[in-house]
Amino acid sequence: MTDPQVIAHDLRHRREFLRAGSLGIGGLALAWLLQQEQARATPKMLPKSPPKFDLAPKPPHFAPQAKAMISLFQHGGPSHMDLTDPKPELDKRDGTDYPGEIAYSFVNEASKKLMGTRWKFAKHGECGMDFSELLPETAGIADDICLIRSMHTGANGHEVSIRYFHGGIPGVLGRPHLASWLLYGLGSETQDLPAYMVLTDPGGPPVDGINNWSSGFMPPLYQGTVIRPKEPRILNLDPPPHLRGEPQRQNLDLLQSLNRRHAERFPGQADLDARIASYELAARMQTAAREALDISQETKATHELYGLDDDATREYGTRCLIARRLVERGVRFVQLFLAGQPWDNHSNLGTALPAICRRTDKPAAALVKDLKQRGMLDETLVHWGGEIGRLPVTQNQGAPEKHGRDHNGQGFSMWLAGGGIRGGTIHGATDEFGHRAVEQVVTPNDYQATLLHLFGLDWNQLTFPHNGQIQVITAGRPAEIVGNILRQPPNAAEG
């Protein structure tokens, strides 16, 4: 073993020699010599380990306006011309032929007959936002929300558009959900709860199943954790009955003591400590999640606000309330899904649409009101919308009362509130029949770019290396921030 001091001295000596030499020999020679020396030292630089991922909080690219998001996803395609996008011309020409091209999904029931809405629209709030009578409660929060009427996926299929919204490319599986990108970019505020939670419907999974919360090519760390509508509420969270309490605590104690003894032999191995810590986190999560799901702690007034006293709204209201409790506890992203696709009103529009509105309208509005009264709305983004809208023409089911509307990815509505969104705004427009988005068209990629922006992330800079390629959420597809729906225009926020 050579004495380190000798080497250090030797090195100083060499450097002095080189400096001195630089007066005599050319700079090029000096550079060469130093390069040689550096080359010798190269292996001393720490080799990169395989990538490691964690949920520790990470700084955004610039000051964020939103810190958490609750998305009320409406599978199936809410009928915008019956809810949020009044079309007098359509109503006037009810029963006449649509003059242009239409792509149908159900050919056998296809028709070109325009079908006006049967529900009354009125203006609401100081901003005068239009809502049909089917959404009386949402109408009550008009001044807090921004209604986008020019959503466009260009595809009529459900899965195609759902994946476009979640993952950035129409129809393509295997990409991370929007929320996975948020987690990857920002980490988690809570270390006691999963940062990305999904609340599913007691009626069953939504269309496209588990793909709705996949982390795609990102590690499963960034995948949505499902809170099921029945026990077990979170998979693997709760011990089976016989391990509950003391027996599992004792298991953990023994495990940790074995693990610590093991780790002592490997002081250079941080991974072992991380795994010991992750068991502790798992144990904390068991308590924290149970507490977060316990809505009995909420007041009667809150229960009533969300419609928990009404059979029609209790279930969805409960989930909206749980969503707020989760965000309150530092969860970054919560998404609610409905079973199947209740907004897919191919038939019986006259009864099916009011039913699903009745179920969701009040709880959705209550969520925004509740967040606002708690001062959380400023930093919590709320999203309401489906993957497509519906056609202005009749889907023929024989008897008129059975008529419905077919798919339409060319133009539809959704709304956003809070988290830096300018309330009381209407953005974009569809054509006179509500078929195509024609003004200020917003694609799911624009939506993704805008959301990331609100969270203080530049969607082009938030990159993930995958298969030798630099991935971004929009997959390099054209996207832009929808600036005029924001309280602070992009440049001001980034500055």
Binding site: M1, G174, P194, Q250, H466
Partner: protein
Amino acid sequence: MKLLAILLVSLIGLGNRSVAAEERHLTLEQDVWPILKAHCFDCHGATETLEGSLDLRQVRRMQSGGESGAAIVIGDSEQSLLFQRVRDGDMPPGEAKVSAAELETLQKWIDGGAATKRPESDNIGPGLGITPEERDFWSFRPIRRPDLKLPTDPLAAAAARTQIDALAMAASAAEEPLAEADRRTLVMRAYFTLTGLPPTFKQAESWLADQGDDWFDRLLDELLQSPQYGEQWGRHWLDVAGYADSEGFTVNDAIRPWAWKYRDYVIRSLNQDKPFDQFIAEQLAGDELAGAKQGDWTPDQIEFLTATGFLRMAADGTGSGENTEEARNQTIADTLRIVGTSLMGLSFHCAQCHDHRYDPILHTDYFALRAVFEPALDWQSWKPPAARLVSLQTESDRARAAEIEAEAQVVAKEKADKQGEYMLQALEQELAKFDEPLREPLRTAYQTPAAERTEQQKELLATNPSVNITPGVLYQYLPKAAEELKTFDQRIAEIRSRKPPEEFVRALVEPPGHAPETKLFHRGDHQQPKQTVLPAAPTVAVPEGERIEFPLDDDSRPTTGRRLALAHWLTSPENPLTARVIVNRVWMHHFGTGLVPTPADFGKLGSSPSHPELLDWLADEFIREGWSLKKLQRLIMTSAVWRQVRGVEPIDANGLPSTLHRLEAETIRDRMLAATGTLNRQLFGPAIAIKEDETGQVIVDGTQTRRSLYVQVRRSRPVAMLQAFDAPVMETNCELRPNSTVATQSLMLLNGEFILDQAAKLAERAIDESETLEPPFAELVLDLPSPPAPQWSYGFGYFDEVTGRTESFEPLTHWTGSQWQAGPELPDPNFGWVLLTAAGGHPDGPDRAVIRRWTAPRDSTVVIRGKLSHGSPNGDGVRGRIVSSRSGNVGEWVAHNGEAETNVVEGLAVNAGDTIDFITDCRQNQTSDSFAWPVTLTVRSEDAPERVITSNEGFSGPQAPERFEAGWIVAAWRAAYSRNPTDEELQLAADFLGRQLDTLHQNPTSVPSGRTATRQALINLCQVLLSSNEFLYVD
């Protein structure tokens, strides 16, 4: 030593920076070219048409400038448009911006005279070409076998076992001998590295006891020869190849029923130690090697064809409703990506649209590579997956099948006729909805072939789309008819099922005589084809001035021979990439990190090698030794650096990673199955089914205990447990698995169904195997807690009114299935009517009271509540007494055709072992003495939580005494860790079992039905072992 290393780096770093900033002369080629390439050349140099007529490829061209005038004024950056526009953010357009450092370089270069390294020629062709600087990048330089170097220090030299060690040490300043890991560690390490499975306890012991000097060589022999070797290393290769049992791309994610044949080919090839160059050639060009079919396929031909499954691994939607031009081109692009990342360590796809921004890969290089595959992967002449399966059927089987098919066709004809009828019926039914003037024209229009319809007819059908009935939507009109038509399908399927089984391979077979031209796609868009590109090797990987073109059409074979030529070039000694890429991957799987930490990116954005000479030596040695993977691995594993102790520091003295390896997802599952002794080691075959459990998690079919690499890889349905531990969800391929440590894994190991099942099985195995332990373990007696005696016991006896104590207690010995009696008969000839039930009982005469006795497990105070009831007006009822062994008679109650509350509300103090007796006697009269006396004890003590105990708790027949065997612990340790527990661990486990048993006895709900408390405690111990870090990591 470590301190010194840091010192060295920082000193040298400082020196170098000052030189770079102050003294080195910036040149276009060295410093500015990469900046222009990343930001400017897309519009101003790489393409034939230049934006604003500005060409930035030469200083002279910058000076002559474009439409806006000169781009640079030499020596004056402020006056140079190039600098101004970039600084002001006008250029480049779009989001990407030039960094401050790059801008500074640009400025200094202009101010310093805009020097070039070489004189600029007057005429240059279009495009960027490859600069000498780019060609000089480490991975494109030829592989050069370094001279042998030995550490100067004699101690270090002695420690160097192999050339690997010499090179690893020579590259660093390390002169410290390496500490070798102990033999047990080496055995475990070797087993997991080579087979992905642990040794059994016996195997581990026999290697430890081996006296031969060559024990390690023999260990490697044995493991390299074991069939599990091919499974473990096959899994590594399948990651890179992007193996999946489903097509992906569309919602269907259709199953690939024959993909497994390629998986098995990989396992077989690795087990045979097939030379890797041949392995590559077979996968790239097996069809060309196989040649034409003559009669039945020969076994060799089948093997070659199966190998080309490699080129069929990319996600492919063209068989699941997406047979579009986009989908076909995407499949081709993904295939090239797999070829590029797996065999060349380069991601070519960036050059799909333009010259690669960072790496010297030209747009034309991409299409030259694509041209190699064009004859076989021709997007304009495309077969969907099902149409390109190669049947392995023999001629005789085929003839038999044809006969049966003819039968099936008869039914198919019936079906077609029937369908025609229904189509007509549906049409009429639909037409009935229209008024007569429309009906006939609609019918005519519909029945007119589409091509012959008049404009008017087309218009008519367009306005009334519901008339456009096709077989595909018939179900929407006549649901019942559609159902009926399905019954034909069932009949057809039944007939076809009688065919001799036909096997297929998912192969890539180039059609003979098919050599389509490859066009360069402008911006990667297949709708904008440009010039024809010939098949050739990437320019940068070929020496300056040379060009390696592959044959357009090799006359010596029916196919073009392009892929075979590519394979030969890749594995030729001149190729700088392939051998390096392969040895780096192999190294990575031995050390956790590659010498190049980015195994699929040997370009500018990847990492450079930590030990370039070592990498080159390994690559050269690999080639010299005939591309033998096994020889390479033996070489690596006999080195001192591989054999040293790990985990003491993250990096060893030579700068090599020294980390423990978290087992891969598949290995964790496999190791659990191995530990429980249920692992099924059967090799090969179709994929094992997966399913969703009631909670929606994808799981392996529960009865299947084969190795995880045989579990179906469905892209859209990853197995939850494997995915949680970072198994890839195949999108394209997996070049490098992440290694995550997250709470979801912990939850899965704490509560997941799979591990709970395995823990129970391990416990069972431990009990079984404890029977056959050898000395000294067979005789091992541990200070194990004896299970606490049952708290309730049942007897009869006599209360002494004088002493106030229970005078005698005789246990009731006969269990009837529902009650305890003195003997099988009632009344018993000797002891009469004594009996106790769960709720009450019956005394005999005055001196034979029945006694329900509670024994205190610990010092405590007891509050008693109960109700003595007697239900007959006859006789004189019964008397109940509560008698403490410590304080005597506590209370006395009588019930006659009624009830009495028997509460003792003041806490009764008892010590451990004291008894409280509930004595019921007949008073004077011996008739009609049936009684019920349920009681509840609330027990409070200092060292345990409050417990409520009822008198019927644990009321059951005779129980075999529960006891622990030390041997269980020993056997569990052996099964889980392949070693004996240490004394300390034995004690730790014994203490744990003691605590558990105590807890389980106090909480009967903690013991699932069908298990005893001791069994459950042992299962819990086993679960801890299976989820411990010693189980999940190998050092």
